[in-house]
Symmetry: none
Subunit: 229 residues, 4 copies
DNA sequence: GAGTAACCGAGACGGTACGTCATGTCTTTAG
DNA sequence: CTAAAGACATGACGTACCGTCTCGGTTACTC
């Protein structure tokens, strides 16, 4: 907020984006192992110190590049609604959620499952895209290679999205659609982890409709008895 | 099958194990990123060519080392029974499996859920061990870094264990405990993926009892209506 | 001529001399065969790339090191006079150069022979010194090992000295002391070649006074009849 | 002479020549620096230990290979006559060597210079041949690289030829053609050294007729006054 | 508008590790 | 005991990157 004005020539923000773009370019071509700071600098038309001045390690650089592009585009495929709506939804969804639902309540009674389905399908599809797959694999590699560096970044950058998912699930609980005692974060971990695991072990050959099938089991397990089919 | 005797001095199998042991030693000390072929060779008391003669890349070497130690020890924590029993179980589990399933009942009606619970708790605990965590992170790093190399190894080496889990689940279907239409592999992916995702993002600070909570939801989602509590 | 300033950090000229000095040090200790780029880099307190950045091969490096030290010091033992004087000598030496050449005479009649004698004795003595012998053997090894590399360097660096010798002989021709039809370069080759051949085949055990004896025959063969004793 | 019959399988003498031939083949293709024991063994269709069993170092192996081929063929270009004749010549050549020469004496009075000329021209020509040049360069490289190894070999293998030349010159002294006080070995060194020096510095571009020109000066310098033109 | 301070590109620097090759020894099977 | 084959420990090869530094030069704030 205070943003101290330091003396001297300010950093050129155009370089910033050029470097991140170069990272994504190299990542697609050579993968995480094949990415070097020198290649990135060269591809960005920038000197090495300019890169190091802004990112102290390959892991943080890659994390930034991936999260600012892929995940910055990903919110669009976050569960419809998310945080903001959840507040308003709270009041409307009564415990019973039977037939006496208003025009909006009918939608909410099923909408959480539906929202999750829509979101997860989009998420899984997105991860299936080779470009995105390369980005996520890079992120995984960065995290796995240097757990210390990556812990911060991972949590720091992905927390927002993660919480959107959990909030979405929570709105299902509030509406009575889901069991109140369910561990929603466990479900979120399973959803994301499942996709990442498939990415690691079956890149390029994802089993069809696996995402829907998993959701089917999970949502059934989450639902309160009177919401089950 | 008859193992043709090739000319020349045969490879010293003692080196093989020495190298794999050295990999695990270095992995624990320095992590995947800090592991170099030179360190491994030195730690194993072996020349670099002896390493390269057997493993062409860091990824395959690490994968072998991890899978031959951790996962060779892991089968002990596979779901009790597994393949063999699944055949015998088939006959015993009648569709009825009435309501009289007490806590001590050895009946099949709860055994699959129970087996899964026992296994998954052991699995999650095992992954929580720092030694094992380091090994698995290395495996993930290897797979993420060079998808091509790792795909073969991953699938090749982990398929057996993976199928044991799926078989266990399938015996639950056969016994009528689980829904026949469930995608068991999706469930297996979610279980394993969930643990790996937590390992990546929360190493050292695993949320307590998350594993049980996930299983709770999944098993509930899997059960046939008359098996639900 | 104006030395274009190239971009980037300029090369540190101190490293240059440090490396050449290291080469000479290693050469004395281990000989040409025992000299490795790694030893040189280590002895110079320098990274290997810094060596390779300046010299692409062991042969060129050794040639530079030897020629910039030994031969840079050697001009002092070039035939007294050399190029510059040769022009002035021309006028002084009259064709007659009568019989009155005593031992102390500064006359031109004996000066060329004398100059050659003084130079060649010094040259042979210099080559007899173990330090110099090691340097020259290294130069020979470099030249013999990679004829292509060495041709350039050899010709490039030794041409100056070689021509001083030939010029000295030529002044003897001009003064009438030597036959006009003699192949002076053949004589220079024989003088140098003779010493090198002895170095190769009798290192450490040079036959005494061989240099004088050779010169005796060669100068006699060069002299015009009325200059012969 | 005694040739103790040792137990076990005797060495296959065919390998010996195969290895030497392989050395020459590799030497022509890759030069001395590019010759390795492994290449030689492979080219000879032989195991490395078989090579090491017979030659303990690259230098000795190369020396043997070169001297047993090139120099074994070279004696044919030794000065006609050589040792044997020198004994018979002794008696015939009287000190005066004036006009009172017999039918054979006229021939001997000039034949030494002639013999030397014929030999040296052949020698220089032979060294000009690329195959021979490569061999001799290899020999020089071996000698320069490891003076210790090479001293023995050089002296050991080339002494015979060297003495033939000196003997030839000595017969010129005996016949009165050459000065009695000349250092014949100095002359031999100059002849051989001159050729080697040119080989080192001007491979492929030998100055024409340099050999004759050198001999001209040397023989003139060697001749007794009444033999001079 | 002159300082000044941080930026920029380029690239040299001391290092570390790479993956390959050659060394000379040793071990195996075969003759 | 020799032979071919080839594994072995060792160590140098020449290259690629690392992360830091030093250049000449630029750009923007501050006096």
């Amino acid at each position: 907020m205070d943003e101290v004005r330091r003396p001297g020539r300010p950093r050129d923000s155009a370089r910033h984006e050029a470097i991140l773009e170069a990272v994504r370019e190299v990542l697609l071509r050579d993968g995480y192992a094949g990415l070097t700071m020198e290649k990135v600098a060269a591809a960005a038309g920038v000197g090495k110190p300019t890169v190091y001045r802004r990112w102290s390690s390959k892991a943080t650089l890659v994390a930034d590049a991936v999260l600012h592009s892929f995940l910055a585009a990903a919110p669009e495929i976050a569960p419809a609604g998310g945080r903001q709506q959840h507040a308003t939804d709270t009041g409307t969804s009564t415990g019973t959620s039977t037939s006496t639902s208003t025009s909006t309540s009918t939608s909410t009674s099923t909408s959480t499952s539906h929202q999750m389905t829509v979101w997860f399908r989009a998420y899984a599809t997105s991860v299936g895209d080779p470009h995105h797959a390369a980005m996520i694999l890079a992120l995984i590699a960065a995290a796995a290679e240097s757990p210390h560096d990556a812990r911060n970044l991972y949590e720091h950058h992905t927390r927002a999205q993660y919480e959107i998912i959990v909030d979405c699930l929570r709105s299902g609980v509030t509406s009575g659609e889901f069991r109140a005692d369910a561990d929603l974060e466990a479900v979120a971990d399973a959803l994301i982890g499942s996709v990442l695991y498939q990415l690691l072990t079956r890149t390029g050959h994802p089993p069809p409709r696996r995402a829907e099938h998993l959701l089917d089991v999970l949502l059934t397990g989450l639902r309160t008895p009177d919401h089950r089919p």
